[in-house]
Amino acid sequence: MDFQLSEDQRDLRSGVREFCEGRFGRDRMRALLDTAPVPGMVDRALWRELADTGFFSLRVAEDAGGVGLGVAEAALVYEEAGRVLLPGPLVATHLAASLPGEPGAKAAAGDAVVGLIEGDSWPLLIEHLDALDCLLVLTDEGIRRVDPGAVRGVRVAHPVDPFTPVTSVDELPVGELVADALVADQWRRIGAVLTGALQLGIAGRLTELATRYAKEREQFGRVIGGFQAVKHLCADMLVRTELARAAVYAAAVTLDDPAVGDPEVAVLTAKVMGDDAATRNGKDATQVHGGMGFTWEVDVHLYLKRAWVHATQFGGAEENEEALAATL
């Protein structure tokens, strides 16, 4: 057993971090938000750059043109995406890249932006619909492919996360079946872990933002991070992040090698702990920032709002906890 990053994994992580910070630094993130919003909030140029870096083809076999890595490596990559708040249906497109034929190939190459939705969710809200080339629907019998252009709905004027536009839909076209129920279940698991990885990245970044502010901001003649009330908020944020990290990485490794644990328990745990860390850290980071945390110009709220969005994807806390209890 050696549950630490391998040298390759460390290199992968630092490469992706460099890429993310370089290509989607704070200025570009803010510009996309404030000055140059694009349809469905998916920047096509950036999307292709992500594809070139292997975001979507990471787990596609090398002989099929992919990178040939596992869920563990994907989790490391998606953690970095969470850290810089990369927008768009990243997990859905990553999953779609494993589809056979053209749909998979286009997703892998960044030529298609792919959305994903649980068919029986209510209310039916589809993220990034205006940017989608393809919409996949998870159902009991498998995965159905729907033409996003045929989906009728009402675009929500004020999405809670400004980077995640949503469209309210009454009913979905039936679409055609492109994968069976086994694949759908596998997607649900990988999707939950990668979304947990996004939450991990958010949780970690929020810890950094709060800690940095606590070291800079002075009140009563000293930096506020010297007061236990603030210091302990930051400490709790770090603890949540490290727990989520262990849970997400363990689940990813377990999906790659199911013999090392119970994949179901591991996946549910990764999502529960990731959601918990990201959303609570968002609350605490806001509190550490005081009044500034309530302003649009400080990034904390953007992370918190994204965390709220991810918390509804691939199973919310309540249903995941119930599913975990059922394993006892």
Binding site: P123, L125, Q219, G293, F294, W308, T312
Partner: protein
């Protein structure tokens, strides 16, 4: 211990209700949230109605033009206006609750004559210039300077978290007049007309995407010495007098509103289906709603306790921080529950699928400020620990 209202109090309530029944239907449509002139007009029109009906400055002294009502009558007023769906105090807040009482307590006769009637009639809107970018929890470390120059003070610096700055006539302001004195000793309280040259207002966008607040910049702004309330360098004490004017009624409207919200959430839970079952079948959710019901019932009882204490003693007890601490954290829990109840509808700050996600998510975002604004929960715990329990101060 008597929770029964006196006959006089019941009469006051009955008359108020009767008037509200007549007045509310006459209100114009609510202005858009970002229409500041519209909001000013709406709020001051309501104040004018109150003035004409004899309810303006209910809790102000008779000498100041108010009604000299008891804290209990004030509680009844706030409870009934909230239940009736009357407008909030809104743009009149600073004038009625802060600036007016301060001028009454510490101003000159001339200042009282000049400023108080406009507040009561809804003619004048006031804003507050206390907090600064560098002085939040540690308000007394404020650095906006006022230097005496003949009959004027020359003010330089900036203030933050100022509501209604764009539409205000006056600003009640704390400035530093003696930078060498201990921080609480060099502060002065000024009245600044907002049309004075040198004032710049920059809206401050909140996490909700709204501009509830502004930053206000002062660049060589000349303020007559006659606009000083209280003595030079005595502004901290002047401010503290006003803060103690609150008499336990600060959160009356909000507690009443939260109790109504819990009923609305219960109704919503009965309507919403989650994973093939009514959300109301979820025992965990019901228990949480039940616990919150207890919290607000207790907070309502504590409100009456604090109001009665203020009524007996003439000054409020130390209960303000106790109340504020618990209330703000509990109200956050209500919106956290609402958020979870909405499920995926929480992705929208607009109503979707017949769910009230618009208002609930807007308030959910707003709720992040409850434990921060007007003294963070951390500061409130310090106050409770130090002033009530006598634990040693932070070093």
């Amino acid at each position: 211990m008597d929770l029964r209202y006196t006959e006089a109090e019941e009469r006051f309530r009955a008359e108020l209700r009767a008037w509200l029944d007549r007045a509310i239907p006459l209100l114009p449509a609510k202005p858009d949230r970002n229409d500041w002139p519209g909001r000013r007009a709406y709020d001051t029109a309501w104040q004018r109605l109150l003035f004409e009906a004899g309810y303006a400055g209910l809790h102000w002294s008779v000498e100041a033009g108010g009604k000299g009502a008891t804290p209990t009558e004030h509680l009844i007023f706030l409870e009934e206006t909230e239940r009736a769906g009357a407008p909030y105090v809104g743009a009149n807040f600073v004038g009625l609750l802060h600036a007016g009482p301060t001028i009454d307590a510490a101003g000159t006769d001339e200042q009282r004559r000049r400023y108080l009637p406009g507040i009561l009639r809804g003619d004048d809107v006031w804003c507050q210039g206390f907090s600064e970018p560098g002085a939040g929890s540690d308000l007394a470390s404020l650095r906006t300077r006022a230097v005496r120059d003949g009959d004027d003070y020359v003010v330089n610096g900036s203030k933050i978290w100022t509501s209604h700055a764009e539409v205000a006539d006056y600003c009640e302001m704390l400035v530093r007049t003696d930078p060498d004195a201990p921080k609480h000793k060099g502060i002065t309280w000024l009245i600044v007309p907002m049309d004075t040259p040198g004032i710049t207002i920059r809206p401050l966008e909140t996490v909700m995407g709204t501009s509830e607040f502004a930053e206000v910049f002062f660049d060589d702004v000349r303020v007559p010495v006659a606009n000083r309330v209280g003595e030079e360098n005595d502004g901290w004490r002047v401010t503290m007098v006003t803060l103690s004017f609150e008499r336990g009624t600060a959160f009356v409207s909000e507690v009443v509103a939260c109790q109504r919200l819990l009923r609305e959430l219960a109704a919503l839970a009965k309507k919403v289906t989650r994973r093939q079952a009514s959300a109301w079948d979820d025992l965990a959710l019901r228990r949480e709603l039940g616990h919150l019901t207890a919290e607000f019932e207790a907070l309502w009882a504590l409100t009456k306790w604090n109001v009665s204490e203020a009524q007996r003693s003439g000054v409020p007890g130390v209960g303000g921080s106790v109340f504020k601490l618990r209330f703000s954290e509990t109200k956050q829990k209500v919106y956290d529950l609402a958020h979870r109840l909405l499920g995926r509808a929480a992705l929208a700050v607009d109503d979707v699928a017949g769910l009230p996600s618009g208002s609930l998510m807007d308030e959910r975002l707003s709720s992040l400020s409850y434990t921060i604004a007007a003294g963070t929960s951390q500061i409130q715990r310090n106050i409770v620990g130090e002033r009530i329990l006598g634990l040693p101060k932070e070093r």
